[in-house]
């Protein structure tokens, strides 16, 4: 496993994603999602919104790192807001 070069931050990152997936699966089993229409231009399920918010968060980071000289933690803050907004209202 040494070739995978694990670090604590990436391990936490992947663990968080795995946990989120488990939570989504549990929620889905307990209360199946209906496609709903929010701010986004199409109807989405909970899983769709999760994917959109993650992908969006990644692009927020890329834009931040590419266009501004400031610390990436601000981007993470911005991305968290985006994540919550899309999950709740998307």
């Amino acid at each position: 496993m040494t070739w995978m070069a694990w670090t604590l931050p990436t391990a936490i990152f992947f663990a968080a994603i795995a946990l989120a997936l488990l939570v989504l699966i549990a929620l889905e089993l307990k209360r199946p999602t209906l496609t709903s229409r929010g701010w986004l231009p199409m109807a989405t399920t909970r899983g769709d919104r999760f994917f959109i918010s993650l992908l969006g968060a990644a692009f927020i980071h890329l834009l931040w790192l590419g266009l501004t000289p400031w610390n990436a933690f601000y981007a993470s803050g911005l991305a968290s807001v985006w994540l919550v907004v899309i999950m709740a209202k998307g």
Partner: protein, 293 residues
């Protein structure tokens, strides 16, 4: 998925059926991807001597003028490919006969370039376009153009475009052809009775029925041209200079040529994110048009 109209049974035991696929794609897809993310946040001298550097490689890559150039070149290439191949493919499809031996032979001829190994496509165009032994190169030079794709960036670009058009326009044409055969003859007759012009027939009779296949054609061509590697590698080797070095080739040089694990990994992640975005667009539009029909 296809044919949403078909009533599907809801049954989570179906997971047993996808398990083998899951395992094999996890092995060849997920583990490598996690590894790339791990590499991308570290400075790796060897696997026992490595330092966490956070997003440093990302920032370096995103502000690296060579990366930005390669990215813009890639966008330009993909845009040019789409702008030429889609209209050309539709025109070709409209010229195709629908029945008979001639139709079958034409179909096979059109399909031929799609089935040639990609490096051989590069080789074919190399020996076709070279200014010393190539039919195209020699002819152009005898006509008075001093054509040399190994020295002139513009010529290299035109040759690459000509090659890609040769290689992939058939795909668009075959897809559009499949779409056109679904237009009922009655629609044409009705349009003729209304005295519709050729353009109006195309715009209002054919184009709506082509929408589904064209979405597929555009997105497939976009994504495949976005990861083009083999053909330019063989034909121009990315040159002259770096003028035809696209993203995949730039990344391959970084990863295998120089073995810069960290920066190459950050590059890979950025590249993959764009592909993920395109794939998602592809998926949502294909599924939407399948649900519509």
């Amino acid at each position: 998925m296809a044919a949403m109209a078909q009533n599907k049974t809801k049954d989570n035991r179906a997971w047993l059926g996808v398990l083998p696929v899951m395992l094999i794609v996890a092995f060849s897809g997920v583990i490598p991807l996690m590894t790339v993310v791990n590499y991308s946040v570290q400075d790796i001298l060897d696997f026992n001597t490595r330092f966490f550097v956070g997003f440093e490689w990302y920032r370096e890559t995103l502000t690296d003028p060579r990366f930005i150039d390669a990215f813009l070149r890639q966008l330009g290439f993909s845009a040019a490919v789409l702008a030429i191949e889609i209209p050309l493919g539709i025109l070709i499809a409209r010229g195709m006969p629908t029945q008979g031996l001639r139709a079958s032979l034409l179909l096979v001829l059109l399909a031929t370039p799609l089935l040639i190994p990609w490096n051989v496509v590069g080789t074919i165009w190399q020996i076709y376009a070279r200014s010393d032994i190539g039919l195209l190169g020699v002819t152009l030079n005898q006509l008075g153009f001093s054509f040399n794709y190994t020295a002139e960036p513009l010529h290299a670009w035109l040759t690459l475009l000509a090659m890609d058009i040769w290689h992939w326009t058939s795909l668009v044409a075959l897809l559009a052809f499949a779409g056109l055969t679904s237009v009922p003859a009655a629609c044409y007759q009705a349009a003729e009775l209304d005295g519709a012009s050729k353009w109006q027939v195309f715009r209002h009779v054919e184009l709506p029925r082509l929408k589904g296949v064209l979405v597929i054609a555009v997105l497939l061509r976009l994504m495949d041209s976005f990861m083009i590697y083999t053909e330019p590698f063989v034909l121009t080797g990315g040159g002259p200079g770096n003028t035809t070095t696209f993203l995949s080739q730039y990344l391959a040089t970084m990863a295998v040529g120089q073995f810069d694990l960290g920066p190459a990994a950050a590059f890979s992640v950025i590249y993959f994110l764009f592909i993920l975005l395109f794939s998602w667009l592809f998926y949502t539009s294909v599924m939407r048009s399948e649900e519509d029909s």
